[in-house]
């Protein structure tokens, strides 16, 4: 009996002795010295998505996975590159911005973070040292002013906050949902669709809307209402603008139901705002629907010299109506914005997109890379932009790709 008691006492005392040192959660580095960075979104059986920012040197073969590697980020995240920093925006309960850079030794490292007051609706690069962010309240009841954040891209700190700009006149028809946010040559351009913030219905799709703000004053200098097009961009896809080498902005209008619109009243088109202008270029109109017999780009990525790669929805408005928000039925096309032509890319299966997210694609050295979900799993596809052909590349062991960069 006495022996037993001894043993029992030992068992009780066990928790005292099972102790170990806490892990050091300081700056961490990751042993990879390659030139591509992907954020892999992994949604577990628990329904929770966690992001892993991994580095890889090959996009065309092998498997890219987060097994035992990658910087873990919890909570919803969105990724954008500014200078040599990847801005990771999101978090749990707060909207944080964490920078990821490639250190001198070639490894990825987190280089600081800050917290936004509420959330962030859009972010754009002003110059090498400055980023500009904007927040729009979730609905009219929550507030009627924008918050503009000026961010030091090197120290990752908010250097200025402007809360004096009224959301009106953007909110005159319905609440504005940001679809594009871009800086060019002294002006900040914000495209949006008027969307009911409760029902998410879009009842004002007859015009393209862009607000033009002077920078750095952030004064509204023009509110563009372009009746040639429907709304610019689509909900949460940040596909409103592409900026070319001259600083000209090319505006995409699609009003795709598969990208969140509740109705489509105009065909797909591209329009232009010339560098330094505060209004659309009335002389430029690329009627994409007409050129392609009624197709509509859902996502675009600019490749240089007026060429863009577009994920184009093959469904007509009637078919789309059954798949609102689904971002489905996509194929690839090479779009020449200068010459107003579009060519189909060979080798890409009809697939679903990342709609409702920024198009996580990379243009690098003549090729566009992005993820497609196939019946065999997720694969990167490599599109040869010049020849309009594509091949299947590396396998991606993740639910989706949230960010894709060369760094």
């Amino acid at each position: 009996m006495k022996k037993n008691l001894f043993w029992l006492a030992g068992l009780c005392a066990m928790p005292f002795f099972i102790t170990s040192c806490d892990d050091d959660n300081g700056t961490t580095t990751y042993s990879n010295s390659s030139s591509y960075v992907l954020s892999l979104g992994v949604t577990g059986t628990d329904g929770v998505t966690v992001y892993y920012v991994v580095s890889t040197d090959s996009l065309t073969s092998g498997t890219i996975s987060a097994n035992g590697n990658g910087i873990e980020q919890t909570g919803y995240h969105d990724y954008q590159k500014g200078g040599n920093t990847i801005f990771c925006i999101g978090g749990m309960g707060v909207t944080e911005c964490t920078g990821i850079v490639r250190a001198d030794d070639g490894n990825l490292e987190e280089n600081g973070s800050f917290v936004f007051t509420n959330s962030l609706s859009g972010l754009t690069q002003i110059d090498d040292n400055t980023m500009l962010g904007v927040e729009i309240p979730a609905n009219a009841e929550a507030g009627d002013k924008f918050t503009f954040y000026t961010i030091d891209a090197n120290t990752l700190e908010i250097t200025d906050k402007n809360t004096s700009v009224s959301v009106s006149p953007l909110s005159d028809l319905d609440w504005p949902s940001l679809t594009g946010f871009e800086y060019s040559n002294g002006y900040v351009y914000l495209s949006y669709c008027p969307m009911n913030s409760s029902t998410f219905d879009t009842n004002y799709t007859d015009n393209g809307y862009v607000a033009v703000f002077s920078y750095p004053e952030l004064k509204l200098v023009n509110h563009i209402v372009d009746s040639r097009t429907g709304n610019i961009g689509s909900w949460n896809a940040y596909n409103g603008f592409m900026k070319d080498e001259q600083g000209d902005l090319y505006l995409l209008s699609n009003s795709n139901i598969v990208n969140g619109y509740s109705q489509t009243t105009k065909g797909a088109s591209f329009t232009r705002i010339k560098s330094g202008a505060t209004d659309v270029d009335e002389d430029y109109f690329f009627d994409f629907s007409e050129v392609t017999n009624g197709m509509s780009p859902s996502h675009v990525i600019y490749c240089g010299n007026g060429i863009a790669y577009a994920e184009v929805c093959t469904l007509n408005a009637e078919q789309q109506a059954e798949h609102r928000w689904s971002d489905t039925g996509l194929k690839g096309m090479i779009v020449d914005l200068y010459n107003k032509t579009a060519v189909e890319v060979e080798g890409i299966p009809i697939h679903d997109g990342d709609g409702g997210r920024r198009f996580a694609a990379l243009y690098d050295n003549g090729y566009v890379y992005f993820r497609i979900g196939t019946s065999e799993g997720n694969y990167l596809y490599q599109v040869d932009v010049k020849n309009a052909t594509a091949i299947r590349g590396a396998k991606v062991s993740a639910t989706f790709v949230a960010g894709f960069f060369a760094l």
């Binding site: 059986t45 329904g47 987060a66 035992g68 590697n69 873990e72 509420n118 928000w325 409702g356 639910t399």
Partner: protein
């Protein structure tokens, strides 16, 4: 479905009839139990008294609190003898009724120097006691906790396989996890009444421990009497049964925490009975946390600092009062009562410590009238009936309207967006009717049948005044559930068996808007019904004396809630194809329990569980802020767990501990992606075979206590207790992904606590002091939310048990 069900019922009925007829022939001998408590003149429990049936060797020794139970006594008139050195022997007559457990109430003993000619027996009411032996159940004896300041929830949390998950201090969000199941998968009962809709102001986190006699924690199969669609276990609070008592206490402690409790019962000789529990709680919850301070101007995250929580106060007030008659020929018990409670809770943090709020308040109030009736031997011998009904009006108000951003110093800045988390000035109203009937029949000495039917219907409406145009405002949602269960029990000395069949039926409805913004815009009622059959069996076997082997298997299910099935009626899509969550649970366990001649008691037990669960109801894969994702049956999880415990107690000290290890892994090879932005159809599940994150998987508890009698004052008891709990580190995300150094982990935690109690005047007065988290360790839960550091509390208690 219905045909299948009919077939099931037919089969079971046939088996039952055959078994019953065959067993009835040979078995005519009928037995019952006797239980009670041996107390001193002041009502204090007497330890190690022998209670023997005169003329036999059958009997039992009392435990530390004076309780005893003698099982399997032949029905009929017997004489009990109660003996203890230093006290006058007592004898009393008891009628043993077959299949019943007869309570003697408190048997009062007189020290040998006093003479007393007649034995006093108090509260002699026959209370049927469920035989829980075949279930995987932990019984928490609450009488051990009456002097403690720890909340009822945290006492339950000390059981093996059970974790209390809390967001913070008193009144914070909490949930129970039993073998990894949590949320709606675990059900709560108060005296067998489902607590689903009693409101959060009347819950385990606020109820005083002094109102409960014991808490049963079922870790697998539920008894038929608890008709409910629990997937992963249940917790049943059994209220105190003393016929006449008053228990009043006041405790105060760190963080300006105060708790007042008055519980009592009065039963007159003609059977009139009044029982009540009143409680009030208050805490500032301003404990220190180690957090990063955000510079509100630049958004920069500063270094870690220890600061006090500043907007986390909680207050609650409540009562459960019942009035009626007991011990009447037509009713063993007929009680009408009311639960009334209210609470106000300031909300300091969001999902993580990074989200800090200053002005979010949640207010809850509930009014729940109750009716309970029970009668043994109704109409015929061996047939008993129990009924209860409740009506509940439960409201929740949630206010988040400030246009401010706070940091951990309590500083704030004006923002352009109202609502610190999400603009809300909402009221949710629930009205619920509940009716539960249990009929049981003891057929023979060895067999009984129990039938239970639980019905509930709930109507919910919500309104957000901050967004008056919100189309979901005032939309009615209805959920009706009916669970029918039939159980058959066989009892022998060496083994007993329970087999049961359950039928779950659910009907729910809500209103949805169609053809918005067209001339045809309208609200239409949409509804859906679901039916599901569950079954299971539990077996207990006593191979040798003092050793018990238990095994159970159940096909369990949980029905979808109205929100899950219909979304919010607008943005969240409905999914009327939603299936119930299902789980196949298998438990096997062995226990050794022995009482030695000098009253020492040793118990050792070990259990193994195996579960295959699937079709968890979760929000569909939502990787963007996709507003239209629906709830879906996602995931497949395999659980293997072991738990073991040892406990040794004597009159002078007790020592014990338990360890739980549960390996809960993702068992889905593919993930079905629907209604999301990232493709649809089946895709490879990257986390197949990995341990589920954010659930503790290895934890242990230890306890040690000593007890001294007559220190200082005569008839006094001094106790010293030490408890520790250990939780091994666990990951917040799937363990195999990401580099080790960037993984978000909840580090290993150990909590030590110490308590001193002094009781005098034979239990009438007591004073207790406690120190929780003795080493001031940083303790965490859900997403690393910090829990209080070292804290102190004192409890003063007055108790009288009238004879």
């Amino acid at each position: 479905m219905f045909n299948l069900l009919k077939h099931h019922i037919k089969c079971v009925a046939l088996i039952l009839i055959l078994t019953i007829t065959s067993l009835r022939v040979g078995a005519q001998m009928r037995v019952g139990n006797i239980e009670g408590r041996v107390v001193g003149a002041e009502g204090e429990g007497i330890y190690a008294a022998m209670v023997i049936i005169a003329g036999t060797t059958q009997g039992a020794a009392t435990d530390v609190d004076g309780h005893f139970i003698i099982r399997n006594i032949a029905a009929g008139h017997i004489t009990l003898e109660v003996k203890l050195l230093g006290y006058t022997n007592r004898t009393l007559s008891v009628d043993v009724v077959a299949g019943h457990s007869i309570s003697t109430g408190d048997i009062v003993m007189q020290p040998i120097d006093k003479e007393l000619n007649e034995v006093q027996v108090v509260g002699k009411s026959a209370v049927r006691r469920q035989q829980e032996m075949a279930f995987a159940v932990s019984v928490v004896d609450m009488s051990m906790a009456y002097n403690s300041t720890i909340s009822m929830g945290n006492i339950v949390g000390k059981e093996s396989s059970v974790r209390v998950r809390e967001d913070g201090g008193m009144g914070s969000n909490y949930s129970f996890s039993i073998n990894g199941f949590s949320g709606n998968q675990v059900k709560f009962f108060l005296d067998g009444i489902p607590m689903d809709n009693f409101g959060s102001s009347f819950s385990l986190s606020t109820l005083p421990s002094n109102m409960a006699e014991r808490i049963d924690v079922y870790k697998g199969v539920l008894p038929v009497e608890l008709g409910s669609d629990a997937l992963g276990g249940a917790i049943n609070i059994v209220s105190r049964r003393n016929a006449n008592y008053l228990d009043a206490s006041y405790s105060f402690g760190s963080f300006n925490t105060h708790k007042i409790n008055i519980s009592g019962a009065y039963t007159s000789e003609n059977g009139f009975s009044l029982r009540t529990t009143l409680y009030a709680n208050y805490s500032d919850n301003d404990y220190k946390v180690n957090v990063q301070i955000v510079d509100l101007a630049t958004g920069a995250k500063g270094g870690y600092r220890k600061v006090r929580r500043f907007a986390d106060a909680f207050r609650s007030l409540g009562t459960w009062t019942e009035l009626g008659v007991v011990g009447k020929p037509w009713a063993d018990r007929l009680l009408v009562g009311i639960i009334a409670s209210a609470s106000e809770n300031k909300i300091q943090t969001g999902a993580t410590m990074d989200a800090v709020y200053g002005g979010i308040v949640s207010v809850n109030h509930s009014i729940v009238p109750t009716l309970r009736y029970s009668k043994d031997d109704i109409f015929i011998d061996g047939l008993s009936l129990s009924l209860f009904g409740t009506y509940g009006a439960v409201g929740t108000e949630y206010t988040d309207t400030l246009a401010r951003r706070y940091n951990w110093l309590g500083e704030w800045t004006e923002t352009t967006t109202r609502g610190e988390f999400s603009l809300s000035d909402s009221k949710i109203g629930n009205r619920e009717w509940q009716a539960v009937a249990t009929l049981s029949y003891i057929m023979t000495e060895h067999q009984s049948l129990t039938a239970n039917n639980s019905f509930s219907t709930n109507v919910r409406k919500s309104r957000n005044d901050a967004v008056p145009d919100e189309p979901t405002n005032d939309v009615e949602q209805n959920l009706t559930k009916n669970v029918s269960a039939l159980g058959y029990k066989v009892n022998f000395d060496k083994w007993n068996l329970l087999a049961f069949l359950k039928n779950y039926h659910l009907a729910n409805s809500t209103y949805k808007q169609f053809d918005i913004f067209t001339d045809n815009e309208r609200w239409e009622k949409v509804s859906s019904t679901k039916n599901k059959v569950g079954y299971g069996a539990a077996l207990t076997f006593f191979p040798i004396a003092d050793v018990q082997i238990k095994s159970s298997y159940e096909q369990a299910c949980r029905m979808p809630e109205v929100n899950e099935m219909f979304g919010d009626g607008l943005i969240q899509k409905s999914n009327t194809d939603l299936k119930p969550e299902t789980s196949r649970n298998f438990n096997i366990g062995a226990g050794y329990s022995r009482v030695f001649r000098n009253g020492q008691r040793l118990s050792v037990d070990a259990n193994f569980i195996y579960r295959n669960s699937e079709d968890f109801i979760r929000k569909g894969v939502s990787v963007s802020s996709n507003p239209t994702t629906s709830y879906d049956n996602l995931g497949k999880v395999k659980t293997r767990g072991v738990e073991g415990g040892v406990k040794y107690e004597s009159q002078f000290f007790h020592v014990g501990g338990d360890v739980t290890f549960q390996d809960i892994v993702d068992d889905a090879r593919t993930v079905k992606v629907t209604g999301s932005y990232v493709g649809s159809g089946e895709t490879e599940n990257v986390t197949y075979g990995q341990r589920l994150p954010n659930i503790p998987y290895l934890f242990a508890n230890g306890e040690f206590g000593v007890r001294f009698s007559n220190v200082g004052l005569q008839h006094s008891v001094l106790t010293l207790d030490y408890n520790c709990s250990y939780v091994h580190e666990y990951f917040l995300s799937f363990p195999g992904l990401g580099s080790v150094s960037s993984k978000k982990i909840i580090p290993e935690q150990t909590n030590h606590s110490l308590a001193v109690g002094y009781t005098f005047s034979d239990g009438r007065y007591s004073i207790a002091g406690e120190c929780n988290n003795l080493t001031d360790a940083e303790l965490y839960d859900n997403y690393k939310l910090q829990k209080p550091g070292r804290s102190f509390s004192v409890k003063l208690r007055y108790f009288i048990n009238k004879k």
